[in-house]
């Protein structure tokens, strides 16, 4: 039972990190209706900044700089590439983000090479023991940080003028523009916020028990895609629920993989995708996504 509790808490913590990534993804989709396939590269960029800067600057300034750096990269992608395409077909725009992803990922993996970079986090491999349950400090930090950021984000989304502009743009771009919402700024802001959230997620994807930032980190970040999809692409609640579902599934499947040996090694990494396919079979718009209605 205590191992189950450990898996569950680890899964929730991992899931909250996925939720952070998925949230950024959903924000970009809501503000611009563009699916950002370069999201994993944004995350890798944020993680790389922190890894490079933590030695000269110390961890906390490096984290701040990495977050800002990833936000700048996100904003730059929006400003230099996506803005030039506004009004084009959305599936074409999605492919443009794939082009951006190829560029960013090639550059970052070339820089990282075969190294495993440490991010210099203060938690190390310390653990907390609560009765029979042993949890790594990093996992608790991840859970708290993600909860904090998500709450702050949702509050901003609801109460600030930026959030209102974003929601207005998501409802109807044209009406929002006529009401004086500057769509360029909304979309720039969305990309920057997504980059910043991804950078924080990069930190918690690479701390203990994971060895550090490596090329494969982008693959882990990809699991936020099924998270966003199974929750429903246009729903922030969906991103949270999807992230948690994916995290818990992955953690349980990895934890009990000896019992699931007939499914082959590494079933934990596959589980998020299987859950996504299962959910999509039943609910094609995801759990919380808006069902597509067409009036003819």
């Amino acid at each position: 039972m205590s191992t189950f509790a450990e898996f569950l808490i680890n899964g929730l913590s991992l899931g909250s990190v996925y939720a952070l990534i998925a949230l950024g993804f959903v924000v970009i989709f809501r503000a611009t209706e563009v699916v950002n396939f370069a999201h994993a590269s944004l995350l890798l960029a944020g993680g790389y900044f922190v890894a490079v800067l933590h030695e000269p600057l110390g961890f906390w300034p490096a984290l701040a700089a990495g977050t800002a750096g990833a936000a700048v990269v996100g904003a730059a992608v929006e400003f230099l590439v996506m803005r030039r395409h506004r009004g084009a077909d959305h599936s074409v725009l999605a492919i443009v983000t794939i082009g951006v992803d190829i560029l960013l990922a090639t550059e970052l993996t070339r820089r990282i090479g075969t190294d495993i970079l440490a991010l210099g986090d203060p938690w190390g491999d310390a653990v907390v023991t609560l009765g029979p349950v042993t949890i790594a400090e990093t996992r608790i930090a991840a859970l708290l940080a993600a909860a904090l950021l998500i709450t702050a984000f949702l509050l901003a989304f609801r109460h600030t003028s930026w959030g209102v502009a974003m929601r207005a743009a998501a409802e109807s771009q044209e009406t929002a523009a006529l009401m004086g919402v500057r769509l360029g700024r909304v979309s720039l802001g969305a990309w920057a916020v997504a980059g910043a959230l991804a950078a924080v997620a990069a930190l918690f994807l690479t701390v203990f028990p994971t060895p550090g930032l490596e090329r494969g980190t982008a693959l882990a970040a990809l699991k936020a895609f099924p998270a966003a999809i199974l929750g429903g692409l246009d729903s922030t609640t969906g991103a949270l629920a999807g992230g948690l579902i994916v995290g818990v599934t992955e953690s349980l499947a990895t934890g009990y993989q000896t019992d699931l040996a007939f499914l082959g090694r590494g079933i934990g990494d596959l589980a998020p995708y299987l859950v996504m396919v299962a959910v999509l079979l039943i609910r094609p718009a995801g759990l919380f996504g808006t069902k597509e209605l067409a009036r003819v």
């Binding site: 989709f29 699916v35 396939f37 590439v81 030039r84 395409h85 009004g87 084009a88 077909d89 959305h90 599936s91 074409v92 999605a94 492919i95 443009v96 794939i98 082009g99 951006v100 992803d101 190829i102 560029l103 090639t106 550059e107 070339r110 990809l222 895609f225 099924p226 966003a228 999809i229 692409l233 499914l263 082959g264 090694r265 590494g266 079933i267 990494d269 596959l270 995708y273 299987l274 996504m276 396919v277 999509l280 079979l281 094609p284 718009a285 995801g286 597509e292 067409a294 003819v296």
Partner: protein, 355 residues
């Protein structure tokens, strides 16, 4: 290109290009023929995904999976089991045909998803295929050979074996690549002709209608879900064919090759070539497949590119920069891709929401 006289000039150009392609094995060394065969296989696969993503507007990230089904399907059907891996020992040609059919079946099995989802949902759902594929390839040792992959049995066709036993044709020794070159050309020609036929006929119009306005297409009486599923199957069969050809050229299939990067490459090909255009898909496929080979071959002569492992930009990476930038640049500056450069007719430009 002077096309003032219309069809005759074009026919001459095609005939000349055809003759050059047929003569190449007599003059080129093995390296270039192999690179050319990669390009041919890529072109076949690109024509397939272009039917799906370009002509029907269904984003697919799972093309690599169907290539893997084709490649491994061929190995499993043609293998004789002597290497300890399961194989049915079928004759090569039958195995190749069945492997393509198998890829189509795999595409059909995905149709509950492919027929119902569209846009980003389909794109990410097909992402699952890659990971499922990789998982199976690494774990089903008896079938795929696991991490080390498995050797590809040579193809037999009309008593001719496509292996390295040398065959003298006009004093030129023909090895596997020379023989496969002609097979590849024939397959590409057939694939292109079939795709053009599909696009020009009723199914092609239905596909374009689905891309441009799904609801309007449905109202016009086009069975949207069935068409989407059918195009998915057809595109998978093209991918399976490309996979079989690639396996024959590589002579060994390894699971790592069929990862996500390969799927992204195929999307890059059709964007660079021009979405929805068969000729564009071929051009994009040749471009993306030849680029790393060219850069690798001339790495010393090129500035900014250095041999792998020396710390600089390796040829493979340089190629990825180039086609990544090409994807972004083409959509920015050349909507319609390479096909647009040649075609004089105005291209279709999708406008607004394609729901």
């Amino acid at each position: 290109m002077s096309e003032r006289r219309g069809i005759p000039a074009k026919a001459y150009a095609y005939a000349a290009a055809g003759l050059v392609l047929l003569a190449l094995p007599f003059y080129l060394e093995r390296f270039w023929l192999q690179a050319g065969l990669f390009a041919i296989a890529a072109a076949i696969g690109a024509v397939g995904i272009n039917l799906l993503t370009g002509a029907t507007g269904q984003l697919s990230m799972g093309h690599a999976f169907f290539l893997a089904v084709g490649a491994y399907g061929y190995c499993a059907l043609a293998g004789d089991g002597t290497d300890g891996l399961s194989g049915l020992g079928l004759p090569g040609w039958l195995a190749a045909v069945l492997a393509v059919g198998l890829a189509g079946l795999a595409g059909g099995a995905f149709s509950p998803i492919a027929g119902r989802l569209h846009g980003a949902y389909l794109g990410i759902a097909t992402l699952a295929l890659i990971f499922i594929g990789q998982h199976v390839l690494f774990n089903a040792h008896g079938l795929t050979g696991g991490y080390n992959g498995r050797a590809v049995p040579p193809l037999n066709l009309f008593g001719l074996t496509f292996d390295d036993t040398e065959l003298l044709v006009l004093q030129v020794p023909f090895g596997s690549v020379e023989k496969l070159w002609y097979l590849g050309l024939a397959l590409l020609l057939g694939g292109v002709a079939f795709a053009r036929g599909v696009l020009r006929g009723r199914p092609g119009r239905a596909m374009n209608a689905i891309r441009d306005h799904r609801i309007a297409a449905g109202v016009l009486g086009i069975p949207v879900a069935r068409h989407r599923a059918a195009v998915f199957v057809l595109s998978s069969m093209y991918a399976g064919l490309a996979g079989v050809l690639l396996a024959l050229v590589f002579q060994r299939t390894v699971p790592e090759y069929f990862g996500m990067a390969l799927s992204l490459e195929y999307l890059a090909m059709i964007v660079i070539g021009g979405l929805g255009s068969v000729a564009g898909a071929v051009a994009g496929g040749v471009f993306v497949a030849l680029l790393p080979q060219l850069l690798g071959r001339y790495a010393e002569a090129l500035p900014l590119v250095s041999a792998p492992g020396t710390g600089g930009v390796a040829p493979g990476e340089a190629a990825r920069y180039l086609y990544g930038a090409a994807v972004v640049g083409v959509v920015l500056f050349l909507p319609g891709g390479l096909a647009r450069l040649v075609a004089r007719t105005p291209i279709h430009r999708p406008s607004g929401e394609s729901r």
